[in-house]
Each structure stands twice: as structure tokens, then as C-alpha cells.
């Protein structure tokens, strides 16, 4: 059970930092609260007591987004349902919508925020692989000597382990910046114990851009979640396809290369099969998304068994 004496709803970042300062450590910052409340229960956090809660979800600046050159700059308070439904975001970062449709359920998506999902640092967070694939960088802000200062960290450096990040005391993740994916095809794959409200056993984001004739991979970006302490980019799998023609054997090789990243505590054999097939299906799905047709490619999901 979560209990506290004060509940603050700052309207500006400045106000939030002042509240954090005056509460001298005995506070908890929250946005959507959808991870916090289930955590403060028997068997996990147990009964948790704070003096103050600081709810940053009403800081309007953090709910906005904008296009900056070829990057999209998103406030940390953008909700998962905005990622799913907003036409502008669907246009520029459609893989987020494809991930969002698998995220929890309709109701939680309304409350849960992008920033919260990243900061919570679950190994199975659904928003993280797409963000990694889009070269996301976080803006971390804090107030020092009356002035708000900030630093930037790439998402992959920010995440250090299950529930662990480089966020420092007094610091807030305020914005997430990522590439606009205009020109790319995308796919998101997820499997869990059931359809809704389920942690990913494996999830994968795939982004692909092709040459004008649609026959050669110009760029490939793959990121995987649920198979180790932090979601990761699959650099080797990407490299073996970039500047290469769309080819069955190469895609197979790319998928096999992904399999060795599985470091989960359980069900490694199952995950190997899933990852192999997800990489394959993700790449092909992203190609199809660009209306590419490929005649000689094996598109079946299969038990490969041997990943050499």
C-alpha cells in the first residue's frame, strides 16, 4: 500500500524542482502512477510511505512534441495512447503506434507516459526497443543554485539494468528526442502470456529503409527487449544487411546473429526460437510496410532448432 501526507501537482518544471528541494529526499516523483501503485504492494515494494508525492503529469510543457530538423522532440509526459492515436506522431514515428497497441490495455495507455516507461527501466518495457531503434536521447534536468541545468544521454547509456538507470538524485527526465522515421518501413513484434496487460517475453522493433528500386537495404535498425537486463540494439544483425540486397540467406544470417543476445534467466530455448523468427518477420514486415514485394524470400515462421 502506498501512503503519503502530501500530494503536489506542480504546473511548471521550476515548481517541481523547488518541491523536490523542499522535501529533501522524502518524496517520490510520479507521472502516470501505473507502475508505482502496483509496485507498492505485498511481495514487491510492500507498504511504502513517502512524505510527499510530486505529480509531474500536469506540467504542460512536458506533454508537447515538435519536429526539430529530422528529429522529433517529445515531452516525457506524452502518453502511450497519444503515441497510438496522434496523427502527427503516427506519421513520424509509426513504430511507436505499433508498439503502443500491444502496451497494457486501452485504459492504462491513457495514463502511462513515455518518460515513465523509459525511467522505470523494465527489461521488457515495450517503448524502449522502438526508441533505441530511433536513436533516442534523453534530456535530464535538475536545478542547481537556482538555475535549471540539463545534460543529454543516449537511451542505451541511460539504462544500466533492470530498474536501474543513470538518473541522479534531484534529476528528472523531461524530454525524449528521436529520429523522425519518414521514409522507413517499420514493424513491432511482441509475445507474452496473453494479449492484453502482459509483460513482453520478447519484443522487437524493426525499421528499414530501401533503395529507390526497393531491392537493397539502405538502413536497418533492430532493437530487442525481454531477453536480458536491458533492451538492446542488434548492431551486428543490422550491419549484415545494410547496403545488401533483400536476400533470404542474409536475413536468415541476421536473425541467427540476434539469438546470442539472449541472457534471460528463464526459457532461453523458447526465446531463441522467438527471437530468430521475430527478427526475420520484423525485417520482412518493415519491408512490406514500404510496399515492397519479394518473390524468393521464405516468409514462414519456423522451428530452426540450431543457431550455431
Amino acid at each position: 500500500m502506498l501512503y503519503y501526507d502530501q500530494y503536489h501537482v506542480p504546473e511548471t518544471l521550476d515548481e517541481a524542482f523547488d518541491l523536490m528541494h523542499t522535501n529533501g529526499g522524502n518524496y517520490k516523483v510520479l507521472a502516470g502512477a501505473t507502475d508505482l501503485l502496483p509496485w507498492a504492494r505485498e511481495g514487491r515494494g510492500g507498504d511504502v510511505n513517502y512524505e510527499s508525492m510530486i505529480d509531474i503529469s500536469k506540467i504542460n510543457d512536458l506533454s508537447k512534441w515538435q519536429l526539430q530538423g529530422k528529429r522529433i522532440n517529445l515531452g516525457a509526459n506524452v502518453t502511450i495512447s497519444q503515441l497510438l492515436n496522434n496523427p502527427f506522431l503516427r506519421k513520424h514515428i509509426p513504430v511507436m503506434a505499433k508498439s503502443a497497441v500491444w502496451f497494457a490495455d486501452d485504459q492504462i495507455r491513457e495514463q502511462a507516459t513515455l518518460g515513465g516507461n523509459l525511467v522505470n527501466a523494465s527489461p521488457a518495457a515495450d517503448a524502449t526497443p522502438p526508441m533505441l531503434a530511433m536513436n533516442a536521447e534523453l534530456r535530464l534536468e535538475r536545478k542547481q543554485k537556482g538555475k535549471i541545468i540539463h545534460r543529454k544521454l543516449p537511451l542505451d547509456e541511460f539504462l544500466t539494468g533492470p530498474g536501474k538507470t543513470r538518473l541522479e538524485a534531484g534529476e528528472l527526465v523531461t524530454r525524449v528526442e528521436c529520429d523522425s522515421m519518414l521514409g522507413y518501413g517499420s514493424a513491432f513484434e511482441k509475445v507474452g502470456h496473453r494479449r492484453s496487460l502482459v509483460l513482453s517475453t520478447v519484443c522487437l522493433a524493426a525499421l528499414v529503409s530501401l533503395s529507390d528500386d526497393g531491392q537493397v537495404f539502405e538502413d536497418v535498425r533492430l532493437a530487442l527487449g525481454g531477453v536480458g537486463p536491458v533492451p538492446i540494439r542488434l548492431k551486428e544483425s543490422e550491419a549484415c544487411l545494410i547496403s545488401q540486397p533483400i536476400d533470404s540467406d542474409l536475413i536468415d544470417k541476421s536473425a541467427v546473429l540476434a539469438v546470442k543476445h539472449i541472457q534471460s534467466r528463464t526459457r532461453q530455448e523458447y526465446r531463441r526460437e522467438v527471437v530468430y523468427n521475430f527478427v526475420k518477420r520484423g525485417i520482412l514486415g518493415a519491408c512490406k510496410d514500404l510496399n515492397t514485394t519479394f518473390a524468393d524470400i521464405d516468409t514462414d515462421m519456423k522451428h530452426r532448432g540450431n543457431y550455431g
Binding site: 500500500m1 503516427r90 503506434a97 492504462i108 495514463q111
Partner: protein, 626 residues
């Protein structure tokens, strides 16, 4: 204590109240405003029993600090009725029987409302998807999907309102679609479950539970908790005046641990206090000193010679052994063409009824102790309690509150006795509501079985002999183990005529969570083994598994395994009708290829579609700069 002024609109009416800041929206609605239609099933955003609209958006009120809903407009199930009449969706839920135990219905109705508000023409797949955040344990969801579709079609004028009327209101009822008698109270959220009830002067109870599977209690000191302001009573086994012990078959479980704990989660002491937080704080002040004992977690270990004894009066750790002997199994096996052996395991299963256990107890003016709880066994509980409390049975009254799902799991008297002790001690009404976690840790589960199966058959498929040896993990207390063993043994060999039979069902004490009644009461486990085994035999005999069963069914005049002569047997007719309806593909089960060819035929369902909602992907631009 700090307080927070909350202002919002609830079902169209303005509300202003000063409350504890830490309340969730769900607590505010239920405990402060007593709009108890919205339920708490899990408290973790998983079940959706608490779904409400916040400014027109469906949200889980257990995941929302009440301060977040400041100045919002809230709509709950209680706001759905139109001019005091059920709205179309409510009538549709009534019509299709979508409301069974009713506990998920407030959230489910809100989700269905949200689905039709979002898309008045939503198809089945979209409805499924939009109801995805809400769990039901009774219906299997089909009736809810049907109800939502029915309401959609009525609202769109495709069907008339007449389709929502009850068939044959005056009877005959058999063969017609009759409404459940309590449906309207469930689709409106009006029905009060035990956890929804309040009384003036009511106290809140919390229970201290064992962290160890097997330990001696050397010291139990409640003095510091008792001294706390706001604590009205702390109860332990020392408060039991009569003969302590309850259980469905033998009274082997004390109301509160007596000198020893036998499973993780066993109740040791309880506090009744003015509010929940005080009760929780007081639990932390109770001092218990344990001496840990060797814990037995496997049935095989419990019956080894020299194993630790869990109950002093049961030195062999065997709760109940039910043997069935018929014919000569040794001879039958010897004469069979094949003897096929396999061992089957089933696991513990939690009932996960959506309503966690809850009870409200109080003394009537004449001193009668009244306990309202969703007990599946009130008369039995009443007898037990009278004995435990040393009160005349007519001074103990059990009222069965609406049961938000039971499935056998609410047969055990796991908390009613504790409530009774608290009420008698402080002479004020006391309410106890389990959290989901508590419900899972403390309540009985389905018995895990290991079943060693040996079947002797002739080449033509006739069963000659059957030997079935079952070990069941009864956990720390008997609960229903004795009855479950009987049922498992009687039904083990299935509806097949078998001349030579040897069945043993052995229920065993361990230090696991107690096993108890759960849907089918032991029959499921043994039937699982039997039917798996027959499939296995059919494969070995290269025979259609259907044929193998037909050959061996009981016929008129046969004797059952427990030697009842059967006057009339309709097994074959029932079986053949089921096969017709299922479009059974004949042949060995391993000869049909990887995919079923019989799906999506006329009169048959299409393959399961468990995919992402068909979000109109075509509307997601695929990257072409526009």
C-alpha cells in the same frame, strides 16, 4: 493527519470532501462516497473491476491517486441507468446472461460502454480488444461480447428493443432464455458484496501471517500493538473459548496458529482498529519468535520413513487413502497384449475469483453473532463456529453475502473465525477485506497430483486391467482433501468398463499452501490422466482415439468401478452427438498433420485470432513524405 480537499463531479453531481491524501480514486468512491459499484479485484490495474470514466476516458481507478482526479467528471456504473431504467447495454448484459457472479460487471459494463462510445459500429474483434483490460472468471467472455454486439445493433436500429426482452416471462422456463434473478442488481452496481458493506462504529481488521512454511511459535507478544491508540482488539489463539479447529472434513486447522505454523501465509494474530493504516501499523508491533522446522514441500518426502511430522496426531502424514479393488489386476495385466505406462502431473491452481475474500461481522442487539461473508458453506461454518466459540448454535448466524466467484475456494472458513473472535472481544462491527495477494497466499488451491498410470489392453483395444496410483499434495491442512480423494478415486478410471482395477488415491500433508475444493473436486486431475493415457494408447495401437473409447464405454448392465449396477447408460449417444457437433476428423491423433483442417468450415469457428487490434494500419503513413 494531513488532509486533501477533493472536488469533483460524480455521476453528474458535485462532490466536495476532505480526505486522506493517499487515497486512490477507487478508495474515494467506495469508502468516502459509498459508491461501491466499482470493485477492487486486484488493486494492481490487472482486472478492470474498478474501471470508471474520468473526463470521458475509461481509466482504472485503482491506479489513480484521488488527487489526479481533482476537478474531474467521474462516471461509474451507478450512473448508467436512464431515468431509473436499465439502459440498452445493461439490458443486453441481462439478456445474454453476461453477468454471473457479477463482480467484474461494473468494470466490464464500463469497458463495453467505452467500446461503443469509441466506435458505435465496433465489430467483435474490436470489442474483444477494448474489453482486454477487464478480467472475468465466470463466463469465458462470450456472453459479454454477445451482449455488447446486441446492444450495438439495438442502438443502431438494426434490431428492435424487443430482442432484449426475456423469453417466456411466465414460463415454461426450461429451454427458454430466462434472466438470472439478481441480474439487474448486478448490472446497476447496486448489489452489495461483503467488502462493500459498512456499519456505524465499524473497525477494520488486518491479519499477521506466517513467513515460514513450518515453524514453532516460541513467543507471541501482542502487548505493544494492543497499547496503540486506535487499536480496539488484538486476537490470537488465546481468545478461543471453545474447541479450536475447523475444516470441511476434519477440524485440523486452528482459527489462529496455535504453537506452530504449517504454511507460508497461515494466520497468527489479527488486529481490529479504527482504520486500515492503524491496523497495518499495529501488525508490525506484534512480536513473534519462531523456531524454524524442516519443511516438507514434496509429497514423496512426506511419506518417507522418518519424515518430519506435520500434525502430531497423524504420524504418517497421510490425510486420507482411498483404495478401490476390483477383479485381479495382476492377472489382467499378464493376459493383456500391451501394458502401457506413464506418469502424469498436475499443478496447484488458484481459483482467482474476482472478489477477494471479505467479511463483515457484528453483534445483534440480542447478542447474536452475525457474520456476512461470501461463504460457500454457511451451515457448516455455523456449526463449527459455535463449537469454537463455545456458543449455542442459535447465537451464531452466518449470512451468505453475494459470492463474487467461488469455484470451491470459498468453502473453507479461513477468516470468519478470526472476525468472530475480534467482534466478541471489542463488541463492535469488524470488517476484513483481503487484498488479492492475501487471497492467493492464504486460500486453498486445487490439489496437485502425481498419477502413475498403467493400462493393460488387447490388440483390439479392449481394456483388460487398469492400475492407477495417485499422490495428492493436500498442503498443510485437510480442508477438502478427504472428499477430493474419494472423488478422484471413484472417477479415476473414467466411464469405461474395466474388469480388473486397482485405484489408490492418497492425500498427503505437506507444508505447502492447503489444497481444497476446486471445480470438479479431484475428478479433473484423474480424468486428465485417464484421457491423456487413452490417447497415448490409441497412438500405440494405431487406432482412432474415438474408436478406442467407444469400445470401452460402460453399457447397460455393467458394474461401475465401485460396483453399482448401471440401469441405463447414454454415454455412447452423448459421445456421438458431441463428435458430430465437433466435426471430428477420424484417424489417429498423430496422423493429421500440423494444422487442423476442420476449422472455419460451415458451422465451425475460424482459427483463434489473438492478434493486435486491427488498428487501421493503412492510416499509419508508411514513411512516404507527404
Amino acid at each position: 493527519m494531513a488532509s486533501l480537499d477533493i472536488q469533483m463531479t460524480v455521476n453528474g453531481r458535485p462532490v466536495k470532501q476532505s480526505v486522506s491524501p493517499h487515497l486512490r480514486l477507487l478508495d474515494f468512491l467506495r469508502e468516502e462516497l459509498h459508491w461501491t459499484g466499482s470493485k477492487e479485484g486486484c488493486g494492481a490495474g490487472e482486472c478492470g473491476s474498478c474501471s470508471v470514466f474520468v473526463d470521458g476516458v475509461l481509466m482504472k481507478s485503482c491506479l489513480m491517486p484521488v488527487a489526479k482526479a481533482q476537478h474531474s467528471e467521474i462516471e461509474t456504473i451507478e450512473g448508467l441507468e436512464e431515468q431509473g431504467k436499465l439502459n440498452v447495454l445493461q439490458q443486453a448484459f441481462q439478456k445474454t446472461g453476461a453477468s454471473q457472479c457479477g463482480y467484474c460487471i461494473p468494470g466490464m459494463m464500463m469497458a463495453a460502454t467505452a467500446a461503443l462510445r469509441a466506435n458505435p459500429y465496433a465489430g467483435r474483434e474490436e470489442i474483444k480488444e477494448r474489453l482486454g483490460g477487464n478480467i472475468c472468471r465466470c463466463t469465458g467472455y462470450q456472453k459479454m461480447f454477445e451482449a455488447t454486439e446486441l446492444a450495438r445493433d439495438v442502438m443502431n436500429g438494426k434490431l428492435t428493443i424487443e430482442v432484449l426482452k426475456e423469453e417466456n416471462e411466465e414460463g415454461p422456463f426450461i429451454g427458454s432464455n430466462s434472466f438470472r434473478i439478481d441480474t439487474s442488481s448486478k448490472v446497476t452496481g447496486a448489489l452489495k458484496y461483503a467488502g462493500d458493506m459498512v456499519m456505524p462504529q465499524m473497525l477494520h481488521m488486518q491479519v499477521l501471517r506466517s513467513p515460514y512454511p513450518h515453524a514453532e511459535i516460541l513467543e507471541l507478544d501482542t502487548s505493544e500493538a494492543e497499547a496503540m491508540a486506535g487499536v480496539e482488539a488484538v486476537v490470537t489463539h488465546r481468545d478461543v473459548k471453545g474447541i479450536d479447529g475447523f475444516g470441511v472434513f476434519t477440524d485440523d486447522q486452528p482459527v489462529l496458529a496455535r504453537g506452530k505454523v504449517r504454511y507460508v501465509g497461515e494466520a497468527i494474530a489479527a488486529v481490529a482498529a479504527e482504520d486500515l493504516l492503524t491496523a497495518k501499523e499495529a501488525l508490525k508491533k506484534i512480536k513473534v519468535r519462531y523456531r524454524q522446522l524442516v519443511a516438507i514441500t514434496k509429497t514423496e518426502d512426506a511419506i518417507k520413513p522418518g519424515a518430519v511430522i506435520i500434525h502430531d496426531d497423524v504420524p504418517d502424514n497421510i490425510v486420507m487413502h482411498i483404495p478401490i479393488r476390483k477383479g485381479n489386476v495382476v492377472k489382467g495385466m499378464a493376459e493383456a497384449d500391451f501394458v502401457i505406462e506413464e506418469t502424469y502431473y498436475t499443478q496447484a491452481v488458484e481459483h482467482a475469483y474476482l472478489e477477494p475474500e471479505a467479511g463483515l461481522a457484528y453483534l445483534d442487539a440480542d447478542g447474536t453473532l452475525v457474520i456476512q461473508s461470501p461463504s460457500q458453506n454457511i451451515t457448516h461454518h455455523r456449526q463449527k463456529l459455535a463449537k469454537i466459540l463455545d456458543m449455542p448454535v442459535n447465537r451464531v448466524r452466518m449470512i451468505m453475502s453475494p459470492v463474487g466467484g467461488g469455484f470451491g475456494g470459498k468453502e473453507d472458513m479461513h477468516y470468519q473465525g478470526i472476525l468472530a473472535l475480534a467482534v466478541l472481544k471489542c463488541r463492535r462491527p469488524v470488517r476484513y477485506v483481503f487484498t488479492r495477494e492475501e487471497s492467493i497466499i492464504a486460500s486453498a488451491k486445487r490439489h496437485p497430483f502425481s498419477i502413475k498410470y498403467q493400462l493393460g489392453l488387447n490388440r483390439d483395444g479392449l481394456i483388460q486391467a487398469s492400475k492407477i496410483h495417485m499422490l495428492a499434495d493436500g498442503g498443510a491442512y485437510n480442508c477438502s482433501t478427504e472428499g477430493v480423494m474419494r472423488k478422484a478415486a471413484i472417477l479415476a478410471a473414467g466411464p469405461y468398463a474395466i474388469e480388473n482395477l486397482m485405484v489408490d488415491a492418497i492425500g498427503i500433508y505437506t507444508n505447502n499452501t492447503p489444497s481444497g475444493a476446486m471445480r470438479s473436486f479431484g475428478a479433473m486431475q484423474s480424468q486428465f490422466a485417464t484421457e491423456c493415457h487413452l490417447d497415448l494408447c490409441a497412438e500405440k495401437l494405431e487406432m482412432d482415439p474415438v474408436e478406442l473409447r467407444r469400445k470401452n464405454f460402460f453399457k447397460e448392465g455393467d458394474e461401475t468401478h465401485t460396483r453399482q449396477e448401471l440401469g441405463s447408460v447414454s454415454m455412447l449417444e452423448v459421445f456421438n452427438s458431441a463428435l458430430d457437433l465437433a466435426d471430428w476428423e477420424t484417424g489417429m491423433s498423430n496422423s493429421r498433420g500440423a494444422t487442423r483442417s476442420d476449422l472455419a468450415q460451415s458451422g465451425n469457428r475460424p482459427p483463434c485470432t489473438l492478434g493486435a487490434r486491427q488498428i487501421p494500419l493503412e492510416t499509419i503513413p508508411t514513411g512516404q513524405a507527404s
